[in-house]
Structures are given as C-alpha cells and as structure tokens.
C-alpha cells in the first residue's frame, strides 16, 4: 500500500467524502480504500474476537402498552412484547426516545422505512435515493476480512408498487450499499447458505467471463449519458466485487490472530425452495445469522423479518384472518401482542444461538451488537420515537442491562446511535446520515 494512502487513513472521513465516493461510484474499484479510512486502532487486542453487528428488523412497530423496560433493583423489568428475550436482559440495552428526523413529515410507511438505517431523506415521486445504510458502511469497513462482506436476509418478498408517492421498494429494503442501490434481500435460505459456505455462485472459471463483460461495460461507458454511466457503474462495481471474491477465495484476510470456534457449518444446507411456513423460514434465517457469525463468514448481517406494510399472516399462530399490517393498527388486540412476541421469539433464537458460543472468556453474543428495531413505534405510524433494542456488549465496550432514555435529549437521532455503533467496530466518522455527534452513554 502506498505511503500517501496510508497517511490518508489517519484522516477521519467526512460524510460528504463518503457520499461522494458512493454517489458517483466512480469507475474506481468499489470503495477500494474504505477499509483503511477509518481508524484501525481500537482498544481491542488483535487476538480478541472481532465485534459483529446485526440488525434485525420487524415492520409496523409493536403493541405500545407492552413495549417498555425499566431498571429495578439492579435488573430490568420488561414489557410483555419483550417476554421472549427475558433470558437475555442482562445483555440488553433498552434504548428509548430515538427517532429518525428525515422520516418525519413525508407520509407513512415507505418513506419512514427505507431510510431507517441511513438517516437521509428519501427521494419521492417515482425516484429512488436513500443514502448508504449503517450496516453497509460497516460491511465496507470490516467486510474485506471475511469471506462475505455482509449478509442481507429477508423473510418476505419485496413489494412492487408505489404508495403515497414513494416506491414500496423503501418498505422492503432498509439496507443500502449505495445511495441509489439497495443491498438485495436474500429470501432463499439455501442461497444464503451457499453464499456463506459455498462458492457464492462464482467459480474461478468465471474469471474469463467476468473479464470479458467488464470490457463490454467499459466500452459502453463512453457512449452513454452521464446518468447512465452511474447505472453502468453499479454493474462495473458488481463485476469487480465478484472478481475480488474469486481472488479472495481461500485466502484469510483476517488481521487478527484470533480464529473462529468453527469454520464449517453445523447445519445442513436448507432446501432449495422458500419454506411455506413463515415460522420455519424465520428460524432458518435466524440460524444462518448465528452460524455466519460463529464461523466468522461475515461480521455484518441484516435480517428483515418482514416488510414494513407487511402482508404476512400467521396461520401458525391461528391468526389467519388478518395481515400483519392491518393487525398493527389494532394496538390493543391480544393477537397483535402474540404476533409481536412471535417476532421477538426469533430474535431470542438468535440471541440464544450467539450466547451459546463461547469465544474465550466471552460469548459470541457478548462480542456482538444486535440491533433490533422497527420504523415506527406503533402501528398507528407513530415515529416520533422508535423502538430500539441493543443486545450484546461489543466485546466488552458496552455496559448492558440498562435503559437509556433519550426522549428529552437534544441529540436523539438514530444516526447518532449509528455513529456510536460504528465506532465500536473501529469506524470513526465525523458525520453519518443527519448526525455529527455520537450518542452519549453508549
């Protein structure tokens, strides 16, 4: 690596720099230098396990009266929605009062959701632009060291349609690898499994194909308009990234001396098709998150259990008469609470899986940050504050078993939380989304 670039690595990144890099997506290899932009040095030793980040999302909020936690006698008391994660409350930071200012005042659903992890105001009117999401920022930062940069999973098909002037793509995607490009949701457990443990669908033999089509794209570049070049760059960058995956196959790029507890999957490859039963589908996806972290196949996962505006029904709970979204409008309906708990149950499955993996003195859950959130507090589209749970201790960098209430705080932006979380993984930014200041106390 050149000397000048090394020097650059010491500078902190401004949001503008990042966004320019991402937005224009120039013909340079995809954010080649990002891994070294952030500050590499953390307080963590090189033989310590790395910090992992997962975001688990559920749409349409939760039963308002049952979403709470309070500190009492050195422990936490939890509202009913949170019952399924009771066992892990010592590793929970219950965060109250955060919100996403750029998701306010534009309407409901789509425009509240697409930017949940980006903090940028969404483009309306049949256009698509959302900024880069926190998980993908982290993926760029730490992703090169693992086989897979990040895993973006979903259990419900994306929607086609436009709702109230916003593409419903925003209801279906919270993870954005570039401002105009959502990170595609993987719905097939088998495909996700292959991505983690197979060859990811690309082989060395594909190199010649990729080289050839790269030439096609390059020669087209000069013949198309400026906006088309941006589109073409998505393609170019994808090709380069895949080429890099081929190059990296078999290499270990981990900087740390640390090695994961296992390096082979302990579950069998799921069936090819998407499971009909939503419970089975979510379980498989949850297990994949655990396995991905345990094998250190990736350190960043996003699991979208359902869409905002979700059309899921739950015959498995005997609730077949109404879709998730409509049920969410009936905040006091006991069925709504049960559905909430069903979602938290899958979160608990992840937590349990992570906590069962001992990595030295700590468990894998201790070494992780598992963010659980929705784009509204309640089904009545209330996003004046958002439901946020944070599990894990980022390898001992966070105190848990407490409630942090920001409702009265000046700085209560989701983007501020993201700044804090990113720094736990060594990515120190001056700005992210609409914030320039990390949250206090995290």
């Amino acid at each position: 690596m050149s000397q000048s670039r090394r020097r650059k690595s010491c500078q902190k990144l401004s949001r503008r720099t990042v966004l320019q890099g991402l937005g224009a997506s120039i013909a340079l290899p995809w954010l080649e230098s990002i891994p070294v932009w952030g500050d590499e040095t953390t307080s963590r030793g090189s033989n310590e396990p790395p910090v992992r980040f997962a975001c688990v999302f559920a749409g349409n909020g939760f039963a308002k009266n049952h979403w709470w936690a309070r500190e009492a006698g050195g422990t936490l008391e939890l509202g009913n929605v949170l019952t399924p994660v009771e066992a892990f409350k010592e590793k929970l930071t219950f965060i109250r009062g955060l919100y996403n200012p750029n998701a306010r005042g534009c309407g409901i659903h789509s425009c509240m959701t697409g930017n949940l992890l980006t903090g940028i105001r969404l483009a309306a009117g049949g256009r698509i632009r959302a900024g880069v999401s926190v998980d993908q920022m982290l993926a760029e930062h730490v992703g090169r060291r693992t086989r897979v940069k990040s895993l973006v999973l979903g259990c419900e098909r994306p929607y086609a349609g436009i709702h109230a002037g916003y593409s419903m793509l925003y209801s279906s995607h919270i993870s954005w690898s570039a401002p105009t490009t959502p990170a595609p949701l993987e719905l097939y457990p088998a495909a996700a499994f292959d991505r983690l443990f197979g060859d990811g669908g690309v082989h060395r033999a594909d190199s010649s194909v990729l080289d050839a089509v790269l030439t096609d794209a390059r020669s087209l570049r000069s013949q198309v308009s400026v906006p088309d070049r941006r589109k073409l760059d998505e393609y170019l960058n994808s090709i380069r990234e895949v080429e890099r995956r081929i190059e990296d196959a078999g290499k270990d790029r981990r900087l740390e001396g640390w090695r994961p507890t296992i390096d082979k999957p302990t579950m069998k490859r799921p069936d090819d098709e998407i499971p009909q039963d939503i419970d089975v589908h979510m379980k498989l996806m949850s297990d994949l998150v655990v396995l991905a972290f345990q094998t250190d196949a990736t350190r960043v996962c996003t699991l979208k259990l359902n869409n905002d505006h979700s059309g899921m029904r739950f015959p498995n709970l005997g609730i077949d008469h109404i879709i998730h979204h409509l049920l969410s409008h009936d905040d006091v309906n006991p069925d709504w609470l049960r559905v909430n708990q069903f979602f938290l149950g899958h979160l608990a499955r992840i937590l349990k899986g992570l906590d069962a993996v001992q990595e030295g003195e700590r468990t894998l859950l201790d070494n992780s940050m598992i963010l659980f959130c929705s784009s509204m507090l309640t089904g009545a589209h209330d996003n004046t504050q958002l439901p946020v749970l944070l599990f894990g201790r980022a390898g001992g960098q966070m105190k848990t078993g407490r409630v942090l209430d920001y409702l009265k705080s000046d700085n209560r932006k989701m983007s501020s939380l993201y700044l804090s979380l990113m720094s736990k993984m060594g990515l120190h930014l001056d700005e992210f989304g609409d914030s320039t200041q990390p949250l206090s106390d995290i």
Binding site: G105, H163, A164, R195, L210, K231, D320, A380
Partner: protein, 1080 residues
C-alpha cells in the same frame, strides 16, 4: 391518553394500496390544446416578468418561514426559487407547490393564510407558468435511464432467444417499481454484487440447455444429454406421425376416401387433387400427402385391373357415394357411403348452414340454454341438423355410428320430418329413441369403422314421406356426447372402410411377412425392400409372381417407416436407433421433407454419437459371449474394423461441426444483444473461445457454453442500452434501439426476426413501417405481456396468484387454483382489448369476460363446463364485465374477513380515474376486521360512525361512495344479497360530484360519464410504462394528443399506442450531457 384522531384512510390500511401518480397532472390538457408553441414562448416571457414583483413576495411571506434553506421543512427548500429561472429548472417541485396550494393543504391551517386574491394569483400564475413551460418543452424525451431487464423481461427474452421457456429468473429478486409504478423503470432496476452471481448462475443455466447440433446450436428444455437424444428421436417420431400411425402405417382409409370424395366432388368446386387434399381433415392431426394421393389416384385410375391389384382397383372404381353437402366440407366426410345400388351418386342438399356445423342458420338452431351450437360434429343437447333431400323421400331406417374413443355414453336422439323449411317438424312414432354407445362393437374409432365392425345402432320407424329430415339430440343421459356421428338414411350400404380396406388388408396379409428374426442385434429390421419375404408355401416356392406382387407392394406397403425409431425387441441390441423409412420417402415425402428428415436423423446420430456407441457396444457384446458360442464371437469380431472406420469418420465429421457452432453462438449474441455486432465484438467472442480452448484447455463443448454464458451476462444483454450523443442535444434513437423500445413496450421481450430485419434495413424510422410493425406486434400472442406487465401492474392484479390476504378458514374455496383463475380472467380480458384493438372503455364496462368452470361457479354463471378458459358473453346480467368486476380486483381491494368500501373506492378513484387523494394523517383507527361484528353493523354503518370527524369525512366522501357501490360483492368477489351479519346489501352511492346511483350499473354509468379522467389516466400510465420513467409536465401535450386520438377513433387501444410510438418522447433520447441530468 390523547384522543385518537379517527380517520380511516384505508389507502394506509393495506398492502399495495395503489399507484398514486408520482406527480399530479397539473395542466388541464383541454387548455393545453389551445396554445401553440409560439405563444407558449411569449407567455413564458410575460410570466417571467411577473415573477419578481407579484409572486416572489408572496412566497417569501407565506412559505419561507418553514421552507427556508435552513429549515427545509418536509425536505422542501423554497428559498432557492429566487428567480423565475429557478422555477423553470425545478418545475417538478413547483408542481408540488401548486398542488398543495390548490388542495388548500398549504400554508397549514394553523398558520396565517394568504388572502383569497393572493392565493388565486399564486395558483393562476403557477398554472399558467407550468402550462407554458410544458408547451415549451413538449416532446422532451425526458430522463430515461439505462434499464436492466426486469425479472419478467429477462424470462421472456430468454424464452424468445432460445425458443424454450426455461424461466431461469426464478430466483432473481422481485423487482420493485418507480416512475409511474412500473418495474421497468431505470431508477428501481439496480445491480449489486450479490445480484450478479444470480445473473451469472442464470446464464450458466441457460447455456447448460444449449444443444450442439451438426448445423449449429439449439436449446432444449432439458440440460441432460440423454434427454436431448430422446428429443431428437421424438422429433423424428413426430415427423413420422404427421403421416403415419404408431406402427408406421398410413391411414389408408382416409386416402381412399379422399380419392372417392374427389371423384364425386361438387363440380362447381374447381380444385386440384392436391388442393382438395389440403382441405381434408384427418384424425390425430395427420395430413394427407399430396404425393401419395396423386399416386393412388393415378394408379387406381390407370392400372389395369389385374394381379393382386385387380380386386382393389375394381372395387374402387365401383364404389358409389352419396354426398351430402354441408356448410363446411368437413361435414361431408361423415356422410359418405358407397352405395350398393348401382346408379348415379345422389347429392343430398343441405339447407343453408345447419346448426350442427357452425353458425345458427335461418332455422335458428339453438339449444335450450340459448347458446349457439358448436361447430363441427360435436353434439350438444338440442343441436340438430336438417337434411334436405330435394324432393320428398321415405325413410325407413336411420343408422348412427358414434365415434371418438368410446367417450360417448348415451343420448336421446330424435328424428323428425317436415315438408317445409323451418318446420313444423313432426316426430314420427318411435322417432325418439335412446342412443347408446358402449365399449362393444360398433363404436367407430377415430371416425373410422374398426375392422371388427359388426353392428350399428340403427332405428327403423314408421314410414313417413317428407322432404326435410331432421336429426337431433334432445337430451343427454350421461357422460360425453358422441363427438362424431355417422348418420345414414336408407338401406345400409357398404362403407369404404370395411369394403376397400378389407380387400387391401387381406392382400397385405398375404403378401407381406414381417421378418421377426432380423431385428436382433445388428442388422435391419427388415420391414421393407429386400427384407420383405413374400409368403411362400411349404416347399419354399413363392406362390406369387413378382410383377403382380410389386405393383401392389409399390402402392400399399404394410408400413412406410419404422416409427418407434428405437429398437423394440426384447433381446440385447447394439444399435441405438433404426432408420427404416425408404417407402415414406418414396411415396409420401416431397424433396424438402426428405431433406428435413435427413437433417433430423443427422442430429440424432450426432447427439447419440451412434457410430462410436455402436463400436463400444459391439466390443461389450463380444465380451459377453459365452465360451461355447465362439462362432458368435468370431462373427462379430469381424465387424470391428469397419465399425472403427465409421467411428473415426464420425469423430472427424463431428469436429467439422465446431466452427458452425461457434458461428451459431455469435449469431445468438446478435439476437441477445438486440443489434448488429461490431467486428471487434465478434472477434472478441472468437478470441474468448480460443482462449478457453487454448490456455484454459476447455473442451469445445465447455468453451461454447462459457461463451454463451458470457453473452448473457454482458451488459449488452442485461441492460437496454441506448447510446446518446455527446452534448446537451437530444437525438433520434438508432433503428436497433427503436426496435427494442417497441418490442419491450409491447412484448416485454426482444425483437423478433421480422422486427430485426426492419431495423437492420434502416426502414424502421419510416413512420409507416414503424406503425405496421407496432400493429403486428400488438396482434402477436406475446402482446399478452402488456396485459400482465402494463395492466397487471397498473391495476394491481399482477402476481395475484400469490396473493395471500384471506382467511383460509372463512373462505375455504379461495384456493390457489381459484386465484390463478382470477388472475387469468383479468389477463385474458385485458389481452382481448389490447390484441383485438377494442375500445379501452371496455375496461369500464363490457358484457363479456373470460371464465372456466371453476371461476364461473364462483361467480354463479351457469353452463361453463371444463377447466379451459373461454370468452363468455352476456355476463352483464350476472353482475360481471369490466375490470371492477374482476374477482382479482374485488378480492385484493378487501380485507381478510370483510369487504372494504374504502379500499375499493380508493382503487376506483386513484387507480382507475387517476384522482389524487391527499395524504391521510398519521393516526388511523380501526374498523372491525371481521364483517361479523358484535353490533352487526354493515360496513357502511361502521364507516359512517367513523366519519363523524369532519376532517376525515371530507376525504372519505371522495372515496367511499364508489366502494359502497360494490358492496354486493363479498370479500372474495362473489355476489351476495346479504352480508355476514344478515343485513341486506345496500349498494347506494352518494358521490359529491354526481347524482346518487346504485350498484355496479350505477358505478359503470358514473365511470363512463367520467371517461375522460380514465382515458387520461390510461394514457399517463401507458406513457410511463412505455418510456420507463415518470410522466413529466412536458409530456402533457402528448397525453392530450393521445386522448384526442382516442376520442376520434372509438377509443381503440392502438390509437393511443401508435400516437405514443410515433412521438418524439418514444423515438428520441436526451443528450449525454443534458444539464438537467448531470446535476446531482
């Protein structure tokens, strides 16, 4: 707890709530028409002058408090509109401003309001300015982003590229939408590192289906070599079956009948034998070979009646026929008979068009349910036909044969007579009789008497004399009706089949002996030619002289080919395939067909590597010979050298096919990339192949497949690329680009050969050619994609088969099959309008729809039998017809347990009419999700209760009435008289903008009265879909023109489509550096 603001905008309450126009149409097109571009320029100048003094101060006073550069409330910064130039360059934003002003949403109610005069001035200025701006920019191609193929387009393109429906896109991400609500919009079609492997995988899948043939590359539904071989064998079998049955025999009876029929043809019909043959229909879709027919005709006419042929020739020449002429020549084939009475053949004149054969004639042949009788010889209850004997005739006996595989069960037949056309018909005593068929003798097989034909169902009744005789079916007892029926009047003559055929088959049996010994192991089956052994007596001497034998043998081989292709003996064989079809070529096939057959065999041999396999098999075979059969070992060992030579020759010739296959891949690339390839591109593909063969040491097969993969992963395939000219000026699309725009618009797929030819000849820019091509594409079956993609996305029935929003316990009949049927109904309906170029107003009201038995049952429409879909007319009286009555729409716009007047109303208002409903407040309250509720309220009562809040009521008054009108349809689209609570249905609607109306008919009348809104919405959606972008202000004149054209051309779909296709927007592309697109 704060009081929840009760407002029920169900546009919030449901998934896929509809495509609201991204931007409202601001400019009324009727106004737009009045202005000319010249005056647009003038008024722009005038309006610009007004801005700083009369408009800007108002904006500053009323808007900037919130919408300043710092605060940007709602993301809107109005401070940047310092000059009129800013308004111009951000006219989209200004449209929003105008909309909020007009809707009275801004300034917010709790802020100081502008005076009425100021508000009016602002609105009027904005309207005028935006209108002038639209005129000034009319025809701007707009920002059309490079588009990746959608999931659907990818599938269709691969289907049309390969000719096989491989559906490799199954695992692609579902496409989201942008622009006007369509997936084919550049904005939402992204690419990402995790998607690319899916494309790579899909391309590899497709290439795995490539079959390398001696002449190039084809694609197969399978990726398994054994299947390809089976396919190649099947193609040969299919080829044989054009002319022969499974045993390789000709349908001799049909040929003989045809010759007889030709002999007794209507002299007025001036046809050659070959033309005549082309009209003859045969069972199982076989055709008559003109060549063989001519041969038969000439031989039977010219050969002296001697030798083996003698009896056949004589019988043929003596055969007489009674010809009954019907409306359709097909009718006659059943009526023929060779009369045993010598004398002139009789012509029975039909009355004009008897009902049994098609349209009801003047006799008004209709069955009891009022449906027209089906064409052909399908008997429906109540159908009959009338025979006009020309003069009064006495009938003693009626005989009936019923055919078609014994499917017939039973029916009551009726024979009646009359003296005058049209009746009155009298049924003689016993004229009604039960007509039964069974598996016993007498059932005709494929319309042809079986050789063991023993009896017939005949009925003899009291003599009656009349000119008209009517045979009909008055009732069905069970099962299927007889499909083909032979009816004879008068004494029973010999039929052609048992007569002539019997003679021939007896002769054949004597003359031909099937050599069952030679089809073992190596060697010919010995069916034909030298292998045919004339039957000999015990002494071994032939009893037949060869001349007599050969004249017969030449004309009547026992079989013309070995139809199974694959050896069928039970013993071991070393041969893979047997070709024995010399008589077929000699007697039946013309030269072109012979070449075709040869090619098919070449391909089979090539794919199966037959010579190589035979060599291998033979060696294996020798190895398996027991020691005591040394003579066998020696016998076969002798064959080895010659087999080796053949195998070697095969390998050599196989290698010679390689360059052709590479060429075929390059040809494939030109089609896949939808244009001609540059030399560099062609060279590049060849170089890649060489690289793979050379450096990477891939086999030819693997290298070819890799090149195919490469072609399909290229951006040239994955994206619809339009090159643009450097600079700011828009330019005309190239011919190729125009061809793709057209084909992806109308087919969601790549151009076909004809369109490609037009493009490569440079003729497509010619407006006449472009129009002709557009019309042609519209007629093609592929234009169904417009129904699924365009209308399906617009009207939200696309993907309905996966819709999962109903309670299974409440609606157990709402099955996957029913969903598919509902989806199909909407698709067929839209397809009908589009492909048959009907009036788009039929979307709003039509008296037909498309049904199968299941959906008809669901709708309560009688007399639709069978699972196949068909157009059913007269559905208006069952409350169907038009898009709002479709099960898919009614069901989707409803809850899991109840109807939703709000959802349905919103769908009508927003989706169909393109009206904009202001965003609802954040807080919404719930209606009971179950129609069965504790107070037993109707949906209307529930809604009315909730509409107590005046703020909500304003909006709901604009929505709900149109949903109330559809209350007679339950949550899964069935008509009902009461809701689940037992309340009678009240389908009254009291809209704000019209008189009260009731139910579907009222709604349809309302919609037709507001058809201009619908046509505007239709045009807007069509433009958004065709261009893959949002509709802009500068498109307003085009929308107006499309609407005007529709109005003057009976609202035909093609009118709007062609106006669009010929527009500047469709045919041009913005410059590379258009400043509007290059700024972030």
């Amino acid at each position: 707890m704060t009081r929840l603001r009760v407002c029920l905008l169900l546009s919030l309450l449901f998934v896929g709530c509809g495509f609201e126009p991204a931007e409202d149409p601001v400019v009324d097109s009727s106004v737009a028409e009045l202005e000319t571009p010249a005056s647009a320029e003038e008024s722009l100048v005038r309006l610009a002058e007004e801005y700083p003094e009369r408009i800007l101060p108002l904006v500053q006073k009323h808007c900037l408090k919130c919408h300043s550069a710092e605060k940007k409330k709602g993301g809107l910064d109005l401070a940047r509109f310092g000059t009129v130039a800013d308004v111009r360059s951000h006219s989209r934003t200004w449209q929003k401003v105008l909309r909020r002003l007009r809707d009275g949403e801004m300034p917010p109610r709790n802020s100081p309001q502008p005076s009425a005069a100021d508000r009016k001035r602002l609105i009027e200025w904005s309207e005028s300015y935006l209108l002038a701006d639209a005129r000034d920019r009319a025809g701007d191609p707009g920002l059309v982003l490079m588009r990746r193929l959608t999931k659907a387009e990818y599938s269709y393109s691969v289907r049309d590229l390969t000719g096989v429906d491989l559906r490799p896109a199954k695992r692609f991400l579902e496409d989201s939408v942008a622009g006007e609500g369509f997936a084919n919009t550049g904005e939402s079609l992204f690419m990402a590192p995790d998607l690319l492997p899916k494309y790579l995988d899909a391309a590899r899948q497709v290439s795995a289906h490539a079959v390398l043939t001696p002449t190039g590359v084809r694609f197969s539904p399978s990726s398994d070599r054994h299947d390809w071989i089976a396919e190649a064998a099947q193609r040969i079998k299919d080829f044989y079956s054009r002319y022969t049955d499974r045993e390789g025999r000709l349908p001799l009876a049909d040929y003989l009948k045809a010759t007889l029929r030709y002999r007794y043809r209507d002299p007025a019909v001036d046809l050659s034998l070959e033309e005549f043959a082309a009209q003859q229909e045969l069972a199982a879709g076989r055709t008559l070979s003109p060549k063989y027919l001519r041969l038969l005709w000439e031989s039977l006419n010219e050969l002296p009646p001697e030798g083996e042929m003698a009896e056949v020739v004589r019988q043929w020449r003596d055969t007489k026929m009674i010809v009954v002429k019907g409306a359709h020549d097909a009718a006659t084939r059943i009526e023929e008979a060779s009369s045993s009475n010598p004398g002139d053949p009789k012509t029975f004149q039909y009355p004009p068009v008897p009902g049994a054969f098609g349209n009801p004639g003047p006799y008004g042949v209709r069955n009891v349910t009022g449906k027209a009788v089906d064409a052909g010889f399908i008997w429906n209850p109540g159908s009959h036909f009338v025979v006009d004997f020309g003069k009064a005739k006495q009938i003693k006996q009626v005989r009936l044969w019923s055919g078609y595989g014994g499917g017939a069960r039973g029916a009551t037949m009726q024979v009646a007579f009359a003296d005058e056309p049209g009746g009155p018909f009298t049924v003689p005593e016993g004229g009604e009789f039960n007509y039964l068929t069974s598996s016993g003798g007498g059932v005709l097989k494929n319309g042809e008497a079986s050789p063991d034909f023993t009896g017939s169902y005949h009925y003899e009744f009291q003599p009656a004399i009349a000119r008209y005789w009517r045979i009909g079916l008055v009732g069905a007892t069970s099962g299927h009706m007889p499909r083909t029926t032979t009816i004879q009047f008068g004494p029973m003559p010999d039929l052609v089949a048992p007569g002539l055929l019997g003679i021939i088959s007896r002769r054949q049996a004597r003359l031909w002996k099937f050599n069952s010994q030679t089809n073992h192991l190596i060697g010919s089956l010995g069916l034909f030619g030298p292998h045919v052994i004339p039957l000999s007596d015990k002494s071994g001497k032939s009893k037949l002289d060869s001349d007599r034998y050969s004249s017969f043998a030449r004309l009547f081989p026992r079989a013309v080919c070995f139809a199974p292709v694959i050896p069928v003996n039970t013993d071991m064989t070393v041969e893979l395939f047997l070709r024995e079809d010399e008589p077929l070529s000699r007697l039946i096939l013309d030269e072109k067909e012979q070449r075709q057959l040869d090619r098919l065999w070449d391909e089979l041999h090539y794919l199966s590597r037959e010579p190589v396999e035979v060599l291998y098999n033979t060696k294996e075979f020798i190895g398996f010979q027991p020691a005591d059969r040394i003579e066998n070992t020696n016998k076969f060992a002798k064959l080895i050298p010659s087999l080796q030579v053949k195998a070697k020759a095969f390998e050599k010739s196989a290698a010679s096919a390689e360059p052709g296959q590479l060429n075929a891949v390059i040809e494939l690339a030109t089609r896949a990339w939808r244009r001609s390839l540059s030399k560099a591109e062609t060279d590049g593909l060849r170089e890649l192949y060489q690289l793979l063969r050379g450096k990477q040491e891939l086999s030819h097969d693997a290298a070819i497949r890799t090149v195919v993969t490469r072609v399909l992963v290229s951006p040239n395939f994955l994206y619809r690329i339009e090159r643009s000219v450097p600079g700011e000026q828009a330019s005309t699309l190239s011919d190729w680009e125009l061809a793709s725009r057209l084909s992806y618009f109308l087919w969601s797929s790549m151009p076909d050969d004809q369109l490609r030819t037009a493009a490569s000849n440079g003729r497509l820019q010619d407006e006449d050619v472009l129009t002709a091509e557009a019309r042609r594409l519209l007629k093609d079956l592929k234009a169904r994609a417009l129904a699924t993609e365009f209308a399906g996305q617009w009207m939200q029935f696309r993907g309905f088969e996966q819709y999962d929003g109903k309670s299974e316990t409440r609606f157990p009949t709402f099955t996957a099959k029913l969903r598919m049927a509902m989806n199909r109904e909407a698709t067929e309906f839209v397809s009908e309008i589009i492909r048959n170029d009907r009036s788009i107003l039929e979307f709003l009201q039509a008296d037909y729809t498309f049904l199968n038995d299941e959906l008809a049952d669901h709708y309560g429409i009688p007399d639709v039998d069978g699972p196949e879909f068909r157009r059913v007319a007269g559905v208006g009286r069952f409350g169907r017809g038009g898009i709002v009555t479709m099960g898919s729409v009614l069901t989707k716009q409803a809850g899991a347990l109840r109807t939703s007047p709000v959802l349905r109303g919103t769908w009508v208002v927003e989706t169909l009419l393109g009206r904009r409903i202001p965003n609802p407040p954040d807080d919404v309250a719930q209606l009971d999700e179950d129609e069965v509720n504790k107070d037993s309220l109707t949906m209307r009562q529930q809604l009315e209760r909730h509409r107590a809040d005046a703020a909500c009521a304003t909006c709901h008054a604009k929505i709900d009435p149109y949903g109330f009108a559809l209350e007679a349809y339950d949550p899964i689209g069935r008509l009902r008289e009461r809701d689940r609570n037992g309340n009678p249905i009240d389908a009254r609607a009291e809209p704000l903008d019209a008189d009260a109306f009731e139910g579907l008919t009222g709604l349809q009348a309302y919609l037709l009265k507001h058809q201009d809104e619908f046509t505007k919405q239709f045009c807007r959606k069509l433009v958004g879909y065709a261009l893959g972008r949002s509709v802009e202000l500068s498109d307003e004149p085009l929308l107006a023109e499309m609407q005007a054209q529709l109005k003057t051309h009976d609202y035909r779909f093609s009118t709007a489509m062609l106006t669009l296709v010929k527009s500047s927007q469709f045919r041009r592309h913005r410059g590379q550096n258009d400043p509007r697109d290059t700024s972030p």
